[in-house]
C-alpha cells in the first residue's frame, strides 16, 4: 500500500452521477469536483436534495441498483475508485474510507454487543487476535469519551442514548484508522448540546489521527466550526468552493449570498432587519432550467446570458483555490448592503390571554412493564411548576432539548391531557382539567397547533383543500360547502400558496409548502393562540426564512399569541419577544429576549448559547462543552435538575445543588432564573457570544 503517498487523499473530478428510474434519468450530481488534502476537513453544504449524500455514496461506490457514475473520476490516494474491482473496493471501504450516517442505529447491529461489533473491524480487516482487538476497542471507546468504557463494551446498542450511539459509530469508524472519514449529517438527529460535544470530539479526533474528513451538513454554522474548506452545492452542482474564510467573508456566488441572508445571524431582527428568503423553489432534478441552475431565483440574473449556456467553474483571482460557478461574479458589487426588506413596527403586546399558574403534569408509569404489580408505579414529572403569562400578539419562545417537557406542556394546553395540578387560564377561564372532548368549539378553535414534521403533518390520502375544509367544518365556519370552499381558498391566499393547490395531494408539495398548509389549517378557526412546535426545524434554511416570515406576518395581522417551541436559539433570538428556557420539566429561566441572551444567564442557558453553531466568522463564542447526556425524566437527579452537567455547581457552597431544588429567583423586570448561584456570581458571568467590531 502506498502509505508514503502525499498527494490529495480524495480527488473528485467532473463527477456526474445519475439515477435511472423507469420514467427518466435523474442527474443527481453534475460536473462536481473537489479535492481533500491529507488532514484537511472539507465541508459540503447545500439544501436537501442537492446531491450531497449522492456524492458521499459515490465515493463509497454504493449507489444502489439504479445509480451509476456517468462521468468523471473519483481518485482515492491517486487510484480511480471507478475502475477498481469489488474485492479492492471492499478492502478500501472497511479500512481506508469510513462513513458515518445521520441515523446511528443504521450502522449498528441491534443484536450484537458493542464490544463484539467494534472488535470485528480489526479482526476482519487486519486479522488481529481477539486480545489485540479488545484492547483497541477499549482504547477507541475511551477516545470517544464514553463513561465507563468496559461497561459500554458489554452493552447492546439500544441500551445507549442517541448521542452515545453516535459516539460508538464514530469509534467503529476509527477502529480501522481510516485516512478518509465521510460524515453525512452526523449530528442532525441529536440535541444541540449533545451535537456540540460530538462535533468537538470529531474535530479533536481528526487532529489526533490526522484523518481527512468530508463533512456533509446543511448547517453553515456547523461547517464553520469543523472545516477548513467548504463546497457549496446547489441542484446537483458545486457552485462555490474555497477556504472557509474566503467563502464566508468574500463570497462570490449569488446563491451563497442568498443563503447567508436567509439565516438569522446575530443582529437580524424581525422588525428592523428581517431575513430575506430566497424566492421561488428548488428545481427538481429533471426540471432544471437551461444555463445557470440558480437563474430563476437569482437577483443578478441577466436574460440571454445566464440562461444561454452551461456555466463552468471559474477561478476567483487572488484567493487560494477559490472557485465559483457564476458568469457575472466579477461584475457584482459584493459589498453592496442588502436592500432593506419591508421593515415593520414592533407590535405592542396587548392584554394577557393565557396564564399558567404552577402547572404540573405527572405521568404514572409501571416501573416494570412485564411483572409490574399493582401500585408498583413510578412518577414521571414531565412538567414541574410551570408559571407564565402570554399576551395578545406576543411571541413567547419555549426553548429546550428533548425530554424537557415541551410537548407535554403543549398537550396539556391543547386538552389532549389534563393537568395534575395548577391552573391554565384562557381569558380567565380555567381549562386545565377540561379534556378536548369537553371543550366548546370556540375554545378548540382558539388554541391551535402547527406541527414539526412537514412530511407528517398532512394526511397523505386527502387533498390539501379537503383537509382545510374539514377544519372549517369542525370549527363551524361557513353555512354551506360553497362558502367553506371560498374561505379555504382565502386561507391558501393567506399562506401564499396558489389556489390550484387545493386539489393537490400532499405528496405533490414540497416540505415548505406542506408546512404552509399546516399553518393555514391552524388558522382556519381564527386561532388566537398558536402553539408552533419546531415548525421550521425540519425545513431547509432558505425555506425556513420564508415560513418564519409568513408566521410572523399572520401573527401581526391577526394579533395572535404565538408559543414558539424550538431548540434553535438563533431563530428564537430573531423572532421572539420573550423566552422561556426549560430543562427536565423545569422552567430554568424566563425573561425578555434581551435579558435571556445577555448575562447573567442560568448555567444551562449559557451552555445552550455556546452550543448553537453560528455561521458568522466575526462571532467568537465562549467554549462550554457539557459532559454527558440529558438525564432521563424517569430518573431525574436529586436537587437541581441540571446539577449532573453544570459547570458552576462547585461554586455553590454546601452541596446545595445536589440537595435542594433551587427556588425561582427574580432578577428584576420579570427576569427569573432557577439557580442557587448568588447574585455576585451571577453578575460575574461573561457574555457567551461576542461579535468582533467590523
Amino acid at each position: 500500500m502506498t502509505d508514503d503517498y502525499d498527494g490529495p487523499i480524495l480527488e473528485i473530478e467532473s463527477l456526474s452521477i445519475s439515477f435511472f428510474t423507469r420514467l427518466r434519468e435523474i442527474p443527481a450530481v453534475m460536473d462536481f469536483s473537489v479535492k481533500v488534502m491529507p488532514g484537511e476537513a472539507v465541508g459540503l453544504v447545500g439544501e436537501s436534495g442537492c446531491g450531497k449524500s449522492t456524492v458521499a455514496l459515490g465515493v463509497m461506490q454504493d449507489l444502489g441498483k439504479n445509480g451509476r457514475v456517468v462521468g468523471g473520476s473519483i481518485k482515492f490516494k491517486g487510484r480511480d475508485l471507478n475502475t477498481m474491482s469489488q474485492e479492492e473496493l471492499r478492502q478500501i471501504r472497511g479500512s481506508e474510507i469510513a462513513m458515518i450516517y445521520q441515523e446511528p442505529m443504521a450502522s449498528l447491529n441491534p443484536a450484537m454487543k458493542i464490544g463484539r461489533q467494534l472488535m470485528e473491524v480489526p479482526m476482519i480487516h487486519r486479522g488481529s487476535s481477539e486480545k489485540e482487538a479488545y484492547d483497541r476497542a477499549l482504547q477507541v471507546v475511551t477516545d470517544v469519551k464514553l463513561p465507563d468504557p468496559k461497561r459500554i463494551l458489554d452493552a447492546y446498542p439500544h441500551q445507549l442514548s442517541g448521542g452515545q450511539q453516535q459516539r460508538i459509530v464514530i469509534a467503529m469508524a476509527l477502529m480501522a484508522e481510516p485516512s478518509l472519514l465521510i460524515l453525512d449529517e452526523p449530528t442532525t438527529a441529536l440535541d444541540v448540546t449533545v451535537e456540540a460535544a460530538v462535533v468537538e470530539l470529531v474535530k479533536e479526533l481528526g487532529k489526533k489521527y490526522g484523518t481527512s474528513m468530508l463533512f456533509i451538513s446543511h448547517n453553515l454554522g456547523l461547517v464553520l466550526e469543523t472545516c477548513d474548506r467548504l463546497c457549496v452545492m446547489y441542484s446537483g452542482e458545486a457552485v462555490e468552493t474555497g477556504s472557509i474564510k474566503d467563502v464566508f467573508d468574500e463570497m462570490q456566488h449569488p446563491y451563497t449570498q442568498a443563503l447567508f441572508r436567509s439565516i438569522p445571524l446575530p443582529g437580524a431582527d424581525k422588525n428592523a432587519r428581517p431575513l430575506r428568503a430566497i424566492p421561488g423553489n428548488f428545481p427538481l432534478p429533471h426540471e432544471r432550467p437551461p444555463g445557470c441552475n440558480f437563474g430563476p431565483r437569482c437577483d443578478y440574473f441577466e436574460a440571454g446570458r445566464c440562461d444561454a449556456t452551461d456555466i463552468r467553474m471559474a477561478e476567483v483571482p487572488g484567493n487560494d483555490r477559490h472557485r465559483t460557478r457564476c458568469l457575472r461574479f466579477q461584475e457584482i458589487d459584493w459589498q453592496a448592503p442588502m436592500e432593506a426588506g419591508d421593515t415593520t413596527l414592533k407590535s405592542e403586546p396587548g392584554r394577557v390571554v393565557l396564564k399558567m399558574d404552577n402547572l404540573k403534569k405527572y405521568y404514572e408509569v409501571a416501573a416494570n412493564a412485564l411483572f409490574g404489580k399493582r401500585g408498583d408505579t413510578k412518577v414521571v414529572k414531565a412538567n414541574e411548576t410551570l408559571s407564565f403569562e402570554a399576551r395578545e400578539s406576543e411571541t413567547l419562545a419555549i426553548v429546550g432539548e428533548s425530554g424537557c417537557g415541551k410537548s407535554t406542556f403543549a398537550k396539556v394546553l391543547m386538552g389532549l391531557e389534563t393537568a395534575t395540578d395548577g391552573q391554565i387560564l384562557l381569558d380567565n377561564r380555567n381549562i386545565e382539567s377540561t379534556p378536548i372532548e369537553a371543550r366548546d368549539t370556540q375554545t378548540i378553535a382558539d388554541v391551535q397547533m402547527v406541527f414539526q414534521n412537514p412530511f407528517d403533518t398532512l394526511n397523505p390520502s386527502m387533498t390539501v383543500g379537503r383537509q382545510i375544509i374539514r377544519a372549517l367544518e369542525v370549527f363551524g365556519i361557513g353555512t354551506n360547502d360553497a362558502e367553506r370552499r371560498e374561505r379555504m381558498l382565502q386561507l391558501l391566499d393567506l399562506v401564499k400558496l396558489p389556489r390550484a393547490f387545493a386539489d393537490r395531494m400532499p405528496r405533490q408539495l414540497s416540505g415548505g409548502q406542506k408546512q404552509r398548509v399546516g399553518i393555514a389549517r391552524a388558522f382556519a378557526g381564527n386561532a388566537r393562540i398558536v402553539v408552533a412546535d419546531e415548525p421550521v426545524s425540519a425545513l431547509d434554511v432558505s425555506v425556513q426564512a420564508a415560513v418564519t416570515d409568513l408566521l410572523m406576518e399572520i401573527q401581526r395581522e391577526q394579533k395572535t399569541t404565538l408559543l414558539f417551541i424550538s431548540h434553535d436559539l438563533s431563530i428564537v433570538r430573531y423572532l421572539s419577544d420573550r423566552v422561556m428556557v426549560m430543562y427536565l420539566g423545569h422552567v430554568v429561566e424566563l425573561g425578555t429576549t434581551d435579558q435571556v441572551f445577555a448575562p447573567p444567564y442560568h448555567p444551562y442557558t449559557e451552555a445552550l448559547l455556546s452550543a448553537v453553531p453560528i455561521a458568522d466568522t466575526r462571532v467568537t463564542k465562549k467554549h462550554i462543552v457539557l459532559e454527558g447526556d440529558i438525564p432521563s425524566a424517569m430518573n431525574p437527579p436529586s436537587g437541581c435538575p441540571f446539577q449532573t452537567r453544570c459547570r458552576w455547581k462547585s461554586q455553590v457552597p454546601g452541596g446545595l445543588c445536589e440537595k435542594d431544588v433551587p427556588p425561582v429567583r427574580q432578577l428584576g423586570d420579570g427576569h427569573q432564573v432557577k439557580c442557587h448561584l448568588s447574585d455576585e456570581q451571577l453578575a460575574s458571568m461573561e457574555p457567551v457570544i461576542q461579535i468582533a467590531a467590523e
Partner: protein, 397 residues
C-alpha cells in the same frame, strides 16, 4: 367420429375462451395506455410479476362472468349424457344432435357430465364467494382492529386474546362442528351470521356519521336511507325460513341463501377476521403516532373519525396486498371445504367439490379431478403473484 388429439383439444379450448381473450386484451391495452394516471393499479403494469398475476386472476374472473352468461361452456354443467361417463378428454358425443357441441373437451366425469363446462361454471362460484367472504372478514377485522390499536389498554388485551383464541382453534374441526346437523339445528351458525354480518352495517354507519357529524342536515337523511337499505339486506340475509331465525315474513324477505353457503360464509369470515384484526391493529398503532392524527385530535375530532378517515386510508397499502392474499387463502379454504363435502351442495360445480368427486376414481381416471385442481392452483398462484406485484410496486417511489 374420431376422438380429438391433444393439439385439437387445445385449439378448441382456445376458441371457446375467445370472449375471455378479447376482454383481457381490452383491459390490458387500456391499462397500459393510461397506467400513469391510475395510481397503484397503474403501477402494477410496471411489474412483470404483478402483470402475470393480474392476468391469471382476470382470466378466471372473466371466465366466471362469461360462464355465468352461458358463453364459454359447451354443455349444461348438470346434464348427464349417457355413454360419456368417465370418458377421456376429446371424446366425441355419441349420437350428438344438431346444435350440441360434439365433444366433451376435457372428458366426462363420474356422472357423465362435461368436465370443461363444470370447470367454467365453478369459476363463477369461486369468483363470487371468495371475494365476498373476504370483504366481510375485512369489515369485521377492521371494525375491531381500529379501536384495539387506537385505544390500546384493556380493550386491546381482550380483543387480542379473543383473536388468538380463534386462531388457535383447528379450522377443519370448526367447520365440521358448524355443519353438523345437531349444531345447525341449535341455530348456532345462524346466530354467528347474525353477529358477523352486522359489522358492515356498523362500519358504514360509523364511517358516514363521523364524516358528516358537523352537518346534521346532510347526515341524518343519508344515514336513514343507507342504514335502512343495509338493514333490510341484513335481515333478509340472516332470516331463513325453517331455521331458528325467522325474522322477516316471506313477503319482504328479499332472498334466502342456500343453507350451505351461509355456513361457508360464516366459517370463512370467522377464521379470517382475527388475522385481519391483527394486521389492522398493528398498522393503527403505528399510524396513530403521526402528526396528522395529533392535528385531528387537537381540532377536536371524534375518535371514530380519526380511525376511519385519518388512519384507515393510510393503512390501505398493506391491506390491499393482504386482501389479495386472503382471497387466495379463502379460495383454497373453499376448495378444502368442498373436498370434505362440507358447505356447498354436492352437485355444485365449484372446484373443491369437483375435486372431491373425482378423487374416488383418481387412480383410474385422472382428468375429472386434475382439471379443477389446475384451475384452483392457477387462480391462487395468480392472486399471490398479484399481491407480490402490488407489494413491490407500492414500496417503490
Amino acid at each position: 367420429m374420431e376422438p380429438l388429439n391433444w393439439f385439437e383439444i387445445i385449439t378448441r379450448v382456445f376458441i371457446q375462451f375467445i370472449p375471455v381473450w378479447v376482454a383481457l386484451v381490452v383491459v390490458f391495452t387500456l391499462s397500459m395506455v393510461y397506467k400513469r394516471r391510475l395510481g397503484l393499479y397503474g403501477k402494477l403494469f410496471d411489474s412483470t410479476i404483478g402483470m402475470i398475476g393480474f392476468a391469471l386472476v382476470m382470466f378466471w374472473v372473466f371466465t366466471g362472468i362469461f360462464g355465468a352468461m352461458d358463453l364459454i361452456i359447451t354443455h349444461d354443467p348438470l346434464s348427464q349424457v349417457s355413454g360419456m361417463k368417465n370418458k377421456a378428454p376429446g371424446t366425441p358425443l355419441a349420437g350428438a344432435e344438431e346444435g350440441y357441441y360434439p365433444y366433451y373437451l376435457f372428458g366426462g366425469d363420474n356422472l357423465a357430465r362435461d368436465v370443461f363446462s363444470r370447470m367454467v361454471k365453478g369459476a363463477w362460484v369461486v369468483v363470487q364467494i371468495a371475494p365476498m367472504a373476504t370483504v366481510f372478514a375485512f369489515m369485521v377485522g377492521i371494525t375491531l382492529g381500529l379501536p384495539a390499536g387506537y385505544y390500546g389498554g384493556k380493550l386491546d388485551t381482550f380483543l387480542s386474546f379473543l383473536a388468538n383464541l380463534i386462531l388457535a382453534f383447528p379450522v377443519i374441526l370448526l367447520f365440521y362442528l358448524l355443519v353438523t346437523p345437531e349444531i345447525v339445528d341449535t341455530g348456532i351458525p345462524n346466530y354467528m351470521a347474525m353477529v358477523l354480518f352486522i359489522f358492515p352495517i356498523i362500519f358504514v354507519g360509523v364511517l358516514l356519521n363521523s364524516r358528516y357529524r358537523t352537518q346534521p342536515k346532510v347526515r341524518t337523511p343519508m344515514l336513514i336511507v343507507v342504514l335502512g337499505i343495509m338493514g333490510w339486506l341484513y335481515l333478509s340475509l340472516i332470516s331463513q325460513p325453517g331455521t331458528a331465525l325467522k325474522l322477516l315474513p316471506d313477503a319482504v324477505d328479499l332472498f334466502n341463501l342456500q343453507g350451505g353457503i351461509l355456513v361457508v360464509f360464516v366459517s370463512v369470515v370467522f377464521v379470517n377476521s382475527p388475522t385481519v384484526f391483527r394486521i389492522v391493529r398493528g398498522l393503527t398503532m403505528d399510524i396513530k403516532t403521526r402528526d396528522y392524527v395529533a392535528a385531528a385530535q387537537t381540532r377536536g375530532e371524534r375518535p371514530w373519525y380519526i380511525m376511519l378517515w385519518e388512519i384507515l386510508p393510510n393503512a390501505r397499502g398493506p391491506l390491499i396486498v393482504d386482501f389479495c392474499l386472503r382471497i387466495g387463502y379463502t379460495t383454497i379454504l373453499l376448495g378444502t371445504l368442498g373436498f370434505f363435502g362440507l358447505g356447498l351442495p354436492p352437485e355444485s360445480p365449484d372446484w373443491g367439490t369437483t375435486i372431491n368427486d373425482g378423487r374416488r376414481l383418481l387412480q383410474v381416471y385422472l382428468h375429472p379431478a386434475i382439471v379443477p385442481a389446475v384451475a384452483l392452483l392457477s387462480m391462487v398462484l395468480g392472486l399471490n403473484l398479484l399481491a407480490d406485484g402490488l407489494r413491490e410496486e407500492s414500496l417503490r417511489d
